[in-house]
């Protein structure tokens, strides 16, 4: 004879098993991945006096990626770069780059990119979104390449990496100071590592 409480626990176990089976049978949904600022890089290059490229980096990159490996088109990305964190290996030049001549960092503390649509293209993602620089928002399309996926041995969290390189015309965003001698085109190189939340 099966006692009533035994019947109840059997029923509960069956329901849990069915739920688990159902969950594995459905396609994985897009998870949220938080950008790891410590292991992500935002680099830019600008041509100096029409001669050579000089590079600078932003030390503070944050944001989230919604990424589904099985359905990349469901992905989205939201990146925020702190304009005050610019580093060009020269303190005087850093202050100039942060001034109203260029980044105007006190008035526009962040540079942001928010995706609007994502298309899968082989291993790459073609991401169309809004880049906001100096308060001017422009739609751009960038290609991001997935550079790897794994598990962080310390946090035991899943990790994913993306790399993207794209060029914007700074004068489109009102950054006109010395446009010409200092290249109008800025190339951004983003290498993002994100951990699954």
């Amino acid at each position: 004879m099966i006692r009533p409480h035994r019947r109840l626990s059997t029923l509960l176990a069956a329901v849990l098993l069915a739920t688990a089976l159902l969950a594995t049978a459905l396609p994985a949904s897009a998870a949220t991945w938080e950008i790891d600022g410590l292991h992500s890089s935002a680099v830019f290059k600008v041509k100096h006096l029409e001669t050579a490229y000089f590079y600078g980096v932003f030390g503070d990159v944050q944001g989230t990626i919604t990424y589904d490996p099985n359905a990349p088109a469901n992905s989205s990305i939201d990146v925020t770069i702190d304009a005050q964190s610019v580093d060009t290996r020269n303190a005087n030049r850093d202050e100039h780059v942060k001034s109203p001549d260029f980044l105007n960092a006190k008035q526009f503390p962040t540079i942001t990119f928010k995706s609007k649509s994502v298309e899968a293209s082989g291993d790459d993602l073609r991401i169309t979104g809004d880049l906001t620089l100096l308060g001017e928002t422009r739609e751009i399309t960038v290609t991001a390449t997935k550079t790897g996926q794994g598990t962080n041995p310390r946090s035991q969290k899943e990790m994913v990496g993306f790399h993207s390189e794209f060029t914007v015309d700074r004068t489109d965003h009102g950054m006109n100071f010395m446009a010409g001698p200092l290249g109008s085109e800025i190339t951004f190189i983003l290498s993002l590592e994100a951990q699954k939340q």
Binding site: N92, H96, K98, N104, G174, N176, F177
Partner: protein, 318 residues
């Protein structure tokens, strides 16, 4: 590069605009009257053209401080000029002190300036209000700058307007040429002070405005006309208070040079003062510029970014 990116947009184009502005003012002035708002139109034109040539057209609505200052200053200059065309001509002056020197006639232009400055300051410092300051700090900064603007307006009035007559200003000096030179040296020093902050652009647009001020003074010198009016000094005060606030809060113009620059303008002498008093603002700005150059040239910088040399490397203590 120097010609195309600095001299043409920062000097030549503003000079052409200023000459057109001053000629327009002179030829549209009513017969038998002194010129009206020649300064506002001329300085507004040189500043506006210099700003656009150096920094491009601002977006509408403007999104940052210098763009908002551009819109306010150029709109003020155009309106001052248009309204001046419809003012009735002055009657003959038979008394020593002009009616404009009476407190009642002072109130209207001063109130108009307070309103314009009261609109310009929060527009220029909007990012500080939004991101940095508490409500109390915002009130203190905006209130303090507005009070400074009013005091500067009164100083400029005594420097440019009061008791300016066709006869020589000082015995032995033809129409105060030295005085004009010292005024121009003061505004040139102000442009250099702004330019030695972290943003070269602010110095360049102040330099473009300086070109307009110089053209007004030279035109006044040759035509024996009184070129500066209430609207003109309001525009000058708006411009220097706005650019100074932007240079200090957004472009790293440090406290002491900023205070010296602010004090220098308050030291502009009244028309009745002896000529040597005009040296005081120049001296104050010379100290401010020296401080800025000294501080930048002493910063550890193995590449001498500002070209103030010699290159300096910070050595670790043994």
């Amino acid at each position: 590069m120097l010609l195309q990116n600095i001299i043409l947009p920062g000097v030549v184009y503003p000079l052409i605009a200023a000459i057109i502005g001053v000629l327009l003012s002179l030829f549209t002035a009513q017969r038998g009257t002194s010129n009206r708002s020649g300064g506002a139109l001329t300085v507004g034109a040189s500043f506006g053209v210099g700003f656009v040539a150096l920094n491009g057209w601002p977006r509408l609505p403007p999104v940052e401080a210098t763009q908002r200052l551009f819109v306010i200053v150029t709109a003020f200059a155009l309106l001052a000029y248009v309204f001046s065309l419809f003012r009735p001509p002055e009657g003959p002056r038979k008394i020593t002190f002009a009616p404009r020197d009476r407190p009642a006639s002072l109130a209207g232009p001063l109130i108009l300036f307070v309103v314009c400055c009261g609109l310009m300051l929060p527009a220029a410092l909007e990012a500080m209000i939004r991101h940095t300051w508490t409500a109390l700090q915002a009130a203190l900064w905006l209130g303090g700058l507005l009070v400074y603007g009013v005091v500067l307006w009164l100083v400029l009035r005594r420097h440019l307007l009061v008791a300016v007559e066709p006869q020589p200003l000082f015995p032995g000096e033809r129409d105060g040429m030295v005085r004009i030179a010292l005024r121009l040296a003061t505004f040139a020093g102000l442009a250099a002070t702004f330019g030695l902050a972290d943003s070269a652009l602010l110095g360049q647009v102040m330099g473009a405005a300086f070109v307009g001020i110089a053209v007004v003074d030279v035109a006044g010198w040759f035509t024996h006309r009184r070129m500066w009016r209430f609207a003109d000094l309001s525009l000058l005060a708006l411009l220097v208070v706005g650019l100074g606030a932007i240079a200090h809060h957004y472009a790293g113009l440090t406290t002491w040079p900023a205070l010296l620059a602010a004090a220098a303008l308050l030291l502009l002498p009244p028309t009745s003062a002896p000529t040597w008093r005009g040296l005081l603002p120049v001296a104050a700005l010379a100290v401010a510029i020296t401080l800025l150059v000294w501080s930048k040239s002493n910063e550890p910088d193995p590449y001498d970014y500002y070209g103030l040399g010699p290159a300096r490397v910070e050595h670790e203590a043994a």
